[in-house]
Symmetry: C2
Subunit: 159 residues, 2 copies
DNA sequence: CGCTAGTGGTTGACTCCTCAACCATAACAC
DNA sequence: GTGTTATGGTTGAGGAGTCAACCACTAGCG
């Protein structure tokens, strides 16, 4: 890499590389494990996780987008696939004829209930169980700082 | 989410969500910014970053794969595209007729030298500058623990 | 009302990545 | 040597996500 004005110091570079690498590898590993022992992708799992909350069950597409921080076209494609597999249903929204409500079907509930224990176990194995309670709090605090900064300084495209 | 045997506690859930969310959002933001102000994808940037190291300049495809922890087919597709754009060249390897050596071309060097300052600045803005030196060390240590665990316990597919 | 602007959602084209199949060459066994 | 296995790399099909264009409906303003 070329030398630049505000280049990263060794300490900064180490932190950045470790963070980037760890999150990438973790994502790859968990995706594969989830898919192998449940047939669900991470996207499937996230949608089902939201809808399977007892206080939810049905949710408009826009609210799902907001909850997942997904683009609406992504959700649309995703929902089409999950509908074809019988995991969820699309229903008209009585309050707004433009809107669509997504409902969890029994097969979808079964799918996430079967997938969740193994998935959580993998999250523990590769992440949670490596840290003390105090370290978990540190992780939460530091990462929330990143999220807040991103939210406070919206990207060019959103301004 | 259904109640499961070893479900996550509130503290565990907070750390896991913050980590997952922050790394995802950061990736999305940095990718977009990089593409907008340099025309390079993250994949382009990573390849160029490796090759532009003064001590490198040319590297066999297999070594590139190992350095980037990429699959060989991904590198092959990626290299084809970057070759078409004149950023790098493919050369035969005199030591092994099966092998291919990737060489950085002047246009590739120019591309990363132009892209790097702004990209590093964004990495600082969204990540590095949010933390004290001690916090950066903590981030490095904790994330390296994740990486080590993943490396020590290879996935089903690799065993 | 009637127009216009905004919102909710879908679609299709394109890019990126993975996986499995494949080809050529190299390394090893006998 | 010859046959077998392993390695380096490419290819094509298919899944997943983004973007821009579009349609239908709603809401706000005159």
């Amino acid at each position: 890499m070329p030398n630049e004005p505000r280049w990263l110091s060794a300490r900064e570079d180490r932190a950045w590389r470790a963070f980037k690498h760890a999150s990438y590898q973790l994502d790859v590993r968990l995706s594969r494990e989830l898919l192998q022992d449940s047939g669900l992708t991470q996207a499937d799992y996230e949608v089902l996780a939201v809808l399977s909350d007892p206080s939810v069950e049905r949710m408009s597409a826009q609210d799902l987008c907001a909850t997942l921080t997904w683009e609406k076209s992504r959700l649309s494609h995703q929902v089409r696939g999950m509908q074809k597999r019988g995991l969820i249903a699309r229903e008209p929204n009585p309050d707004d004829a433009r809107s669509v409500v997504v409902r969890l079907l029994p097969a979808g509930r079964r799918a996430i209930e079967e997938a969740a224990p193994a998935h959580v176990e993998h999250v523990r194995q590769h992440f949670i169980d490596l840290f003390s309670p105090a370290e978990l709090d540190t992780i939460a605090t530091l990462n929330e700082r990143v999220l807040r900064q991103l939210a406070d300084e919206p990207s060019e495209a959103e301004r």
